[in-house]
């Protein structure tokens, strides 16, 4: 052991061994931690590459986290495999070549049972061990520091770090191109389908009877189920099929008045209405089951100034209702009764407004607007005109001075005296009394405002309107389910901006009339529908082939934009041609109904209407698709 220096004042063994032992353990722990970090980095790089290929951006940067986890695991491993004092002593003996002097010195410190302690022996061994720890190890001083921290395999860490940097900086690969599936085979998921809410509103319609109420409730529930299923995801074909069935059911409900066994009652009523010249138009509408037009006819009669037609119409309605009842068409009779009541209410309102307008004019309290609207009521004889007049009168009354109010009250009283108590006479007295005080005036103003808001349409008309509204809503909803949307309508002025977010909303706009250049349709409504979770990659491509045609500009909300086109109006000339449509069957009648050829009133269920029309050839396909259910 010539390499060991002789040191007469050798430091105590513990003072030399303890720090050496700590160094050895620390270096081992450092190596394990470094190995753990390298292993973590390698795993992180593998994860990063897999994430890069799979398009998971967040996972791509996870390598430092896995390296930290590796460090922690390495430290835990080092703790579990911590060297005992004996193992450290054996290591130091080996590197110092001290023939296990250090190990013997460590072993001497362990408690021994029954073995006498030799102090001189311990001191001698300690001196040898201390000499070994202080001396120059045969293979150089570095050996005494402890095991190597760095191993060649740790070089993998640098490589892993480099590889990870490359992966992180690499741009993400483009998503794989998904081939479009068969038409309608894809699943559609929509969080919110515009238009379905109008079908849901059917449950709020006032039904003619309990049976219809239940049917309307069932329709609303079907619409609700459809909405919920679309939120979860539904095959496109199934969605379209359910919408079509829902529309058929709504149409059937809309045409249910006087159906089946009550047909005779409907025809009797129609026939009775047709005998009266005043109600001939209404009879035709009722025969067509166009209850809105029927109500419009009654509205006109009710609001016109002449009372003879009104009395005749009332009488005719009574007779028609009776005729329907005789044929056991109670629903038709009830509808006619409702319409008669509506006729009376409208007439009364119109009469009242006329009397008030006359009183205001003669008392000098009428505004110019009131005068014009009163003339308009006479000209148009419509509820809208009456409501506008009532609204204008209400506003005019607000501005009356007390003297004007008194003057008006006097005029009303005079008119009442002339008319007597029949008809609107009672109302005139009431109004005159009300105008005697400011509080009464306020009540009169309130009543006029109520008149301005009041909808006096007949029950069947409202129901028919609601059902038709629901049908239009389903049309709109159906348009949102079709990838690519409906085909754009031609416009002479060129393409106009449309609302991309509304997808096929322009389809509804286009139904407002062929004379209008409706807002253009986005051919790429897959972009519009993309936010709603549509299947990617579907839809037609303008440029040919599948691909992303989303562009870089945001969609434009075109519903407020006006078209810059200056198209030539086609005029009101209807296009001749025959139209095949759904017509309620009549005994002895023909199912071929000649139409006016006016495509402006064509409905979505009129088939082949395009074929015999005068629509230019190049537009026929697009128009045909437009009218397809």
């Amino acid at each position: 052991m010539s390499h060991l220096r002789s040191n007469g004042a050798a430091r105590s063994f513990e003072a030399l061994f303890v720090p050496r032992a700590r160094d050895v353990r620390l270096r081992l722990a450092a190596r394990h931690a470094l190995s753990g970090a390298v292993a973590g980095l390698v795993v992180g790089v593998v994860v990063a590459i897999a994430a890069w290929r799979g398009g998971a951006t967040t996972l791509r940067a996870s390598a430092p986290a896995t390296a930290l986890v590796g460090v922690g695991a390495g430290i835990l491993f080092a703790r579990a495999r911590r060297w005992s004092d004996t193992e450290v002593a054996l290591y130091l003996d080996d590197v110092t070549g001290s023939a296990e002097a250090i190990t013997t010195a460590v072993e001497l410190r362990k408690p021994t049972d029954g073995v006498p302690d030799r102090e001189d022996l311990r001191r001698t061994v300690d001196a040898k061990a201390a000499l070994a720890l202080e001396g120059e190890p045969p293979l150089g001083p570095l050996r005494l520091r402890g095991p190597a921290v760095w191993r060649r395999v740790h070089g993998l860490g640098a490589l892993a770090l480099l590889a990870w940097s490359v992966v992180v900086l690499q741009p993400m690969p483009p998503p794989p191109v998904v081939a479009p599936g068969a038409p309608g085979a894809g699943t559609i998921t929509r969080a919110d389908v515009v238009g379905l809410e109008r079908a849901l509103a059917l449950r709020h319609l006032t039904a003619r009877d309990d049976a219809q109420h239940q049917r309307l409730e069932a329709l609303a529930k079907d619409a609700e189920r459809l909405r919920d299923d679309l939120r979860r995801g539904l095959p496109q074909r199934e969605a379209q099929d359910r919408i079509a069935r829902l529309k058929e059911a709504i149409t059937e409900e809309r045409l249910s008045l006087g159906g089946g066994e009550r047909r005779a009652g409907l025809e009797s009523a129609t026939s009775r209405l047709g005998r009266d010249a005043a109600t001939r138009g209404a009879a035709k509408a009722l025969g067509d089951l166009d209850l809105q037009r029927f109500d419009e006819e009654m509205e006109r009669i009710a609001n016109q100034r002449e009372a003879e037609d009104r009395a005749s119409a009332r009488h005719t309605l009574e007779d028609a209702a009776a005729a329907a009842r005789r044929e056991r068409a109670e629903d038709v009779a009830r509808a006619l009764d409702e319409e008669r009541q509506s006729l009376d209410a409208r007439a009364r309102r119109a009469e009242l407004l006329r009397e008030l307008a006359e009183a205001m004019a003669s008392s000098g309290t009428a505004s110019e607007e009131v005068g014009k609207l009163a003339e308009d009521l006479d000209a148009r004889a419509s509820d809208a005109a009456a409501r506008k007049l009532a609204d204008a009168m209400g506003r005019a009354l607000e501005k009356l001075t007390p003297e004007e109010r008194e003057r008006l009250a006097r005029k009303l009283a005079e008119q009442r005296q002339r008319r007597g108590s029949a008809g609107a006479g009672g109302d005139l007295k009431e109004m005159a009394d009300a105008l005697k005080s400011p509080e009464g005036q306020k009540k009169l103003e309130e009543r006029l405002r109520d008149m301005a808001r009041e909808d006096m349409a007949g029950g069947e008309s409202k129901r028919s309107q609601g059902l038709e509204d629901a049908e239009e809503g389903l049309d709109e909803a159906e348009g949102q389910l079709v990838p690519g949307g409906a085909v754009p309508l031609p416009s002479q002025g060129g393409p106009s901006h449309g609302s991309g977010s509304q997808g096929n909303g322009a389809q509804a706009n286009g139904q407002q009339g062929s004379g209008q250049q409706g807002s253009g349709q986005q051919g790429n409504s897959s972009q519009a529908n993309g936010a709603q979770g549509d299947t990617a990659g579907s839809g037609p491509s303008r440029g040919g082939g599948p691909g992303d045609h989303q562009g870089t500009t945001a969609p434009v909300q075109g519903d407020t934009l006006t078209s810059r086109a200056r198209p030539k109006a086609l005029g009101a000339r209807g296009m001749p041609g025959s139209v095949t449509t759904f017509v309620p069957g009549r005994a002895g009648g023909s199912t071929v109904v000649p139409s006016t050829g006016d495509l402006a009133t064509a409905r979505g269920r009129e088939l082949s209407g395009v074929e015999h029309s005068d629509v230019p050839e190049e537009y026929r396909e697009q128009v045909r698709q437009y009218f397809q259910p």
Binding site: E87, D94, W150
Partner: protein
């Protein structure tokens, strides 16, 4: 400041070094043989020397006895040697005065009563005679005519075996070979050593070697040897070596399983540790190291390993088997050795 023990150790090492030098003046070469013989002396055991005739075995022992100032006796074993020739016997008293006093018989002690006994060619004597010697070696006492006579300490037997002659020999049984702490193989001298031998033996007679140590010194050495410390890892290493020599043991290497019938046994482990202690003492250390155990493994174990038929047919020597054991059994735990033998730390 050195302790008293360190002084003792230094003195012991110096004394043994002097002894080695003194022997070296007479015996040419054979440094390792001399060292192993001294190990046996210090450890308190007996040594079996095996070598061809004329290699200086007897000279070595005689010289050692001269240097130690101990009573030397030589027993030349022959086939007709009787046990009484070894241990002694009762003889008839011829002196009339003693006879008149009633003493008819007197004990005539045999050569076994020496302190250093050379049992030359022990394998030529009959087993009965061998056993008389071996009994004395084990018990350090002899019984003559019913009277037990304790042999003087130190009692150190060096037996020799001639591996050439096979006819008319009685090889020592394994159980009795166990009595010897070490078996030392005396090799042939190198050319230079042979030349030196020729010079010394064919020229003028050399002077007698000086007396270096006495009885007390030898006994002190033996006592000090027992004090040498063995750390538990070193003890376990010796135990693992002996355990691996058992062919049926779980840690036996393939070489052992193939070539051995019996392993070194408990006495082998004891010899290993004692010899390692003596080695450490002769190196001036109060503690035993792994290399001490490895250095004495062959002399301590070679005569205790019983070869199987395959081992004998192969001609595999026990030294080869001991080498296989030393290779297969690591001194330190693997994880510690891996660190200490790894490239330099940073």
């Amino acid at each position: 400041m050195t302790t008293a023990l360190e002084g003792q150790l230094a003195q012991a090492a110096a004394a043994v070094a002097s002894l080695r030098d003194a022997v070296g003046r007479v015996v040419v070469g054979q440094q390792e043989v001399v060292g192993q013989v001294l190990l046996g002396l210090v450890a308190g055991g007996h040594v079996l020397l095996e070598g061809a005739p004329g290699l200086g075995k007897t000279l070595l022992v005689r010289t050692l006895a001269q240097c130690l100032d101990l009573r030397f006796s030589r027993i030349q074993f022959t086939p007709d040697l009787m046990p009484s020739d070894v241990v002694g016997t009762n003889v008839l008293v011829m002196d009339p005065a003693q006879r008149a006093a009633g003493t008819l018989f007197a004990v005539q002690k045999g050569p076994i009563f020496g302190q250093i006994v050379l049992a030359d060619e022990i394998n030529r004597a009959t087993p009965k005679t061998q056993s008389a010697l071996l009994e004395a070696m084990a018990e350090h006492a002899v019984t003559l005519a019913g009277t037990r006579h304790v042999l003087d300490e130190p009692f150190f037997v060096l037996a020799t075996e001639n591996p050439i002659e096979m006819e008319g020999t009685y090889p020592l049984p394994e159980a009795q070979l166990d009595r010897f702490l070490l078996k030392v193989v005396v090799p042939n001298p190198s050319e230079a050593e042979l030349c030196e031998v020729l010079v010394r033996t064919t020229g003028r007679a050399t002077a007698a070697p000086p007396k270096v140590m006495g009885q007390a010194d030898v006994l002190a050495l033996r006592s000090l040897c027992r004090e040498v410390l063995v750390a538990e890892p070193v003890l376990r290493y010796a135990a693992r070596l002996v355990g691996a020599s058992e062919p049926g043991g779980p840690d036996a290497p393939p070489e052992v399983r193939r070539t051995l019938r019996f392993g070194a046994g408990v006495r082998g482990a004891q010899s290993l540790v004692l010899a390692a202690k003596a080695k450490a003492l002769l190196d001036g250390r109060p503690h035993v190291g792994f290399q001490d155990v490895a250095a004495v493994a062959k002399p301590a174990l070679r005569h205790r390993l019983l070869r199987s038929f395959e081992g004998e047919a192969d001609g595999t020597s026990t030294d080869t088997i001991v080498d296989a054991l030393l290779t297969a059994v690591p001194a330190r735990p693997a994880h510690v050795h891996a660190e200490s033998s790894a490239p330099v730390g940073h």
